[in-house]
Symmetry: C2
């Protein structure tokens, strides 16, 4: 028997939380509205009442991350170009990743999610703006690779089992340190 | 009409190449044996003759990467622990990523592929051995985060559009430089 559905906002939050659980276990592609309904103990119609498609759920789960990223881009864009601005952006990204540590571990890097975001959210523009804010308009190969490694690393941090034991404060401090060495250090020992 | 199927080895290679194309376009979850057959212009039975399941195809595509990784682990394990060994492992990983640049961009980070590899290939053991070879048996939080960022970055390099314009030689040099700064540099400017 399907359980009675609670107040609308409450159900909505429960659908989102349950969807994220299933995404973590099965991947986004392997999760259906029916599975979300079954896990919640409600009918598929009750889920459908809140979200018409799985894609709507994914976009809603990702929305706070994107909103926060936009705020960071706006705030950084309003500052004059400087080493301080670069650091402001990098530290802002680290805080963003920490605030959504689990979510990023589950969703980012998932090709289904990547494709969905590309078609529904202006993400490539965000990445370009971030790159410009950190390394300027005419980045060298060193800049491009440093940013790519740091960005790829940052996105993977949420899902890395080796880091699961580190608390947010330690992870923040260590990610800032890694950013200093990778992005803000003149090359000390270049390998021939 | 389905085209005639060529010699066995040839068809096998064509199936693998076509599967990789489709994985890049649709994701692994979004690709079926039928789609691979349609793209090749052969019957599904012809594909099935080579590979019983899509998972068999994914594992076959990934096999050369895993074999090369194992060779690297063996060679590194035979050397005495030293800064040179750490560098040997890191440079070996960079060369591995460059040799399979496109493949890694398509497959790694895909949760379907991750789950498949976890259940079919001893991957978590490889990651643990790599971590020990680079940062030793009792890594500090700094070691763990540095390795996680570099590993996450390295895996994402193949699929990063910002790096598509860099040739392999430039990318190798810059990844080695990034590894030096991130993994082999005492912290120069730790942020408070």
């Amino acid at each position: 028997m399907a359980k009675p559905v609670g107040r609308r906002g409450e159900t909505r939050e429960r659908v989102l939380a349950t969807a994220l659980e299933l995404f973590a276990e099965q991947g986004v592609s392997g999760t259906s509205l029916q599975m979300i309904a079954d896990r919640l103990g409600v009918t598929k119609a009750a889920v459908y009442h809140q979200f018409r498609t799985k894609d709507d759920i994914v976009l809603e789960v990702v929305r706070p991350v994107m909103e926060r990223l936009l705020v960071l881009l706006e705030e950084a864009g309003a500052r004059p170009a400087s080493q301080e601005r670069r650091r402001f952006v990098v530290h802002g990204l680290i805080d963003l990743v920490l605030a959504h540590r689990r979510l990023l571990g589950v969703l980012f890097g998932d090709p289904y999610v990547d494709a969905l975001l590309k078609s529904h959210v202006e993400t490539s523009g965000h990445t370009d703006r971030l790159t410009v804010l950190v390394v300027g308009e005419t980045p060298s190969p060193t800049d491009l690779v440093s940013v790519a490694v740091f960005g790829g690393g940052l996105v993977s941090v949420g899902g890395d089992p080796n880091l699961a034991g580190l608390d947010d404060g330690t992870l923040r401090r260590e990610l800032r340190g890694a950013a200093e060495r990778l992005l803000f250090t003149e090359e000390v020992a270049r390998v021939p």
